[in-house]
Amino acid sequence: MKHAITYVAGLVPAFLLAAGLAGAADMTAGERQLYDAAKKEGSVTWYVSQTTTEFADGMCGLFKAKYAGVGCNVVRASGQVIFQRLVQELQAKAVQGDLMSTNDDGQMLQLKEQGALAQFAPENLKDMVPELRALADKDNYWITSGVSPLVIAYNTKLVTEAEAPKNWTDLADPKWKGQVAIGHPSFSGSVGLWTVLMNDLYGWDFFKNIEKNKPQIGRSVADGHNLVASGERKVALAPLPLILSDSMLKKVPIGVVYPTDGALLPPSATAILKDAPHPNAARLFENFLLGPEIAEYFAKDYRYPLRAGVPLAEGMRPLSSYKTKSIATADGIKKLPEVQEKFRDTFGI
């Protein structure tokens, strides 16, 4: 992470200039054109719920280092909160974000139907892992910008591997009373999809049973991860890359369980707003998200790289090696409001 931060700080303009020139040398004609137009626009504003603030800031830093003269503003909040903000802006006809990245592609479909998105097929799509590319919109209104499977995290100091839960229903085991953390489907996009998946698999009783364990309910899915990392809770619903990178890079006592009944695989989606104030910078950025720099940055942080041929970080299991489940985009939209309402009724908040 630190290397990214050095870029962000950008204390040595000469270095930045050099990086910009170096980048300029191997730019394609289309990229060059977008870059020139983006420089005139000055910056790009990126609404993101897909990653943590820290990680998104790092991505912005790489972008600024490659495309000197184009600024990058991260606005990070949980999925439903960012989405609500965007809807607010669309209603106010004062769109301020240029592009948005979320773990709930249902939001994208809704925005597409509203006519709020721009169609764009970035050049770098051609180098993408074909399976990941296929998860995106067929009409190129959004791209797949990542996959972070939702799995179970446990604190390795407090829980042995043998004791740890094996599947989702184990979270309702009475031995985890007061020790479970989950997110809220009305705040977090990926928790929304997870709630839909659990309801599809086990019916609403799943949540009634979990409720007996008095789980701590956070707003974002990263919150649960941090609760386990600090030992405040023993087990939680958490995104895989966060667990791996914290345990590998920061030596946090946290471990992964790949649930036998299937990790949730929500494809993260990124789309450009039709009324983006910086349309060219947004297109440049979207293309950059699929470029080699981000692929490497992802791989180093224990995420699945989007480009074909980039090796996984050591200790990372290929997606095909464990069971995953996805929710069809249209299905998610249809079922989400009902489970959100039920969740509020069951958990009283």
């Binding site: 603030t53 606005v75 609500q84 009305s186």
Partner: protein, 582 residues
């Protein structure tokens, strides 16, 4: 103006009626123009947003026609009603706690020989400077059910695995809300205690009452109006607070109105339903104000006057240490403990590891200062908004207070009423009103600093007006009359006489606004845009990601800046600027 004064210069006629000309002239006098101008500003700041709020609560979102459906949607669910009753319950308990904290401390510091009075005063002042959501984070670190410091100590002492205290509970919610606002009770009740003279207490003593009996039978009844007023404001503050419920009531699963309001503000966006749902908050506060008037009207309180005679402090004997013990507990709960853990977390790699030299780090500060995408800008934004809101509110309030106090024009009482009316509007409701009135086209102020500055000015106008009004009242008109006799206008009098005389009062009022405005969360939450974020909102986002160490670091930076500004102010004003107000 000259053209109005001499309209007939070219076509002179004897029949020109003089009477018509004079009223025109009078109506356009600077004072009247100023009145119109100020009234216009107050309409923009207060009347329009509140009116829009009420109107939109009756507006159909799709057709734009008249409807009651928003109210049906807002109250048609049991859960929504529960949030409302929960809020009232919480508000009531918080008031009791705030009074239990604030009143004894105020009495101890103003009327007794308790040791450490200055220590207590400074600490209460610390509670004023620390925003409630930071106190909330401090208490999460202290009383998180499994890793909170208190619980870890308890676990190691008792061997138990059950938590001793849990901040994520109703008790935690009311405690954190109460410690975040009891300083107001302290300030209001202290100044009332300082107005009472000792003659009546002496009488009670002579008739054989001991110090505590005297206090209960004589002193406290005399400060009742101040206590009732403080209780009312405490209630309003408690039910309108956003930060503490966002941190605590979601995990505690205790839904309250402000959390429910954010649900209406999530997708699909239902501003109209949010408006309908916030109307009861307004009605409740209006009813409370009415109740206060009713209670106070029935009794005479003339014995509390600024002209009180001698004030003697009560000698407590050995009870003085008991009282100090109580005060210390309150201060420890509200300031010392949360501040200590917050600072410790800010300098720690991981707050759960506890204190050790290997755990110490400056990286959290480095992160929020240089690496985090929006915290640097947010610090500038918060401080800037605090300065703008305080300056504009004080200036505006000075003009209004002057006009009202000098009765320069008819209906000046209306201006006074408007200027204090935002008192009864919870911050989050005010934000919804501002959003409905100004965020959307045609005005389209969404995502600008302007809309936030306007909302902050409105929110703190009552404090500004109360301060300025008290100041103007203390200046005898004869000095201004001297200016007028020597040919100066009202504006000259204001600039060269009233302004300079009120410098200290106004500067004190400025600080009283700056501190909460730089920390304001409730009003900001719906009004911030992507490039206009403030520290409070960034802190809330950090709490959402569970980044408590970084949050603590950013919170500490905000505190340091605020303390620096206040320290400069105190050098200029003397340390008691907020504790001695009429």
């Amino acid at each position: 103006m000259t053209s109005v004064s001499h309209p007939a210069a070219s076509t002179w006629s004897e029949d020109q009626p003089v009477k018509v000309r004079v009223p025109w002239h009078q109506r356009l006098q600077p004072a009247n123009l100023l009145w119109l101008f100020l009234a216009g500003i107050l309409v923009v700041l207060i009347v329009a947003p509140m009116w829009t709020l009420v109107v939109s609560s009756f507006t159909d979102a799709k057709t734009g026609g008249w409807t009651l459906h928003n109210y049906v949607e807002a109250y048609g669910k049991e859960r929504h009603i529960t949030a409302l009753t929960n809020t009232l319950k919480m508000g009531a308990v918080v008031v009791v706690l705030k009074l239990a904290f604030g009143v004894p401390l105020a009495w101890a510091c103003t009327r007794t020989d308790m040791p450490g009075r200055n220590f207590v005063r400074y600490s209460v002042f610390g509670a004023f400077i620390m925003p409630p959501y930071l106190a909330g984070v401090g208490w999460i670190l202290l009383a998180g059910p499994n890793t909170g410091w208190i619980n870890r100590v308890w676990h190691s002492l008792s061997g138990s695995t059950e938590p001793l205290v849990n901040v994520f509970s109703f008790g935690g919610l009311v405690l954190v809300t109460a410690i975040g606002g009891f300083f107001l009770v302290f300030v209001l009740v202290s100044s009332a205690f300082e107005m009472i003279n000792s003659e009546m207490e002496d009488a009670a003593n002579i008739l054989g009452a001991g110090p505590f009996k005297t206090a209960m039978k004589v002193t406290f009844p005399l400060v009742m109006p101040a206590i009732i007023g403080a209780a009312l404001l405490s209630f309003l503050g408690a039910i309108a607070l956003y930060g503490v419920p966002a941190l605590i009531s979601i995990p505690a699963r205790y839904p309250v109105v402000v959390i429910q309001l954010t649900e209406f503000f999530s997708f699909p966006l239902r501003i109209q339903v949010a408006a309908a749902y916030s109307i009861p908050l307004l009605l409740i506060t209006a009813a409370m104000l009415g109740l206060q008037k009713l209670i106070l009207r029935r009794k005479g309180y003339v014995s509390v006057s600024g002209k009180g005679g001698e004030r003697r402090i009560v000698k407590l004997g050995r009870w003085r240490w008991v009282l100090f013990g109580y005060c210390f507990c309150v201060v420890a709960l509200s300031v010392l403990m949360p501040l200590f853990v917050l600072l410790l977390a800010a300098f720690s790699n991981s707050w759960t590891t506890g204190f050790s030299f290997s755990n110490l780090t400056l990286s959290n500060f480095h992160y929020v200062l240089f690496e985090h995408s929006s915290s640097q800008k947010a610090l500038v934004g918060s401080i800037g908004l605090g300065i703008v809101a305080a300056t504009v509110a004080i200036t505006l309030a000075l003009f209004i207070a002057y006009i009202v106090q000098r009765k320069l024009i008819p209906f000046s009482g209306l201006l006074a009423f408007l200027a204090v009316s935002p008192y009864v509007v919870p911050g989050i409701v005010l934000a919804i009103g501002f959003y409905a009135a100004y965020a959307l086209p045609p005005i389209a102020l969404y995502g600008t600093y302007t809309i936030m500055a306007l909302a902050f000015i409105t929110r703190f106008l009552p404090i500004a007006f109360t301060t300025s009004s008290a100041g103007v009242r203390s200046i005898h008109p004869e000095m201004e009359e001297a200016v007028r006799i020597l040919g100066g206008g009202r504006v000259t009098a204001l600039r060269h006489v009233v302004g300079p005389l009120l410098k200290r009062t106004l500067a004190g009022g400025w600080l009283l606004i700056f501190v909460p405005a730089a920390q304001e969360l409730s009003t900001a939450i719906f009004l911030v845009g992507p490039t206009t974020r403030v520290v409070s909102v960034v802190l809330l986002d950090l709490s959402e990601e569970g980044e408590l160490e970084k949050l603590a670091a950013l919170g500490s930076l905000l505190l340091i800046i605020i303390v620096a500004v206040v320290a400069i102010g105190m050098r200029y004003l003397g340390r008691d600027f907020m504790l001695r107000r009429s």
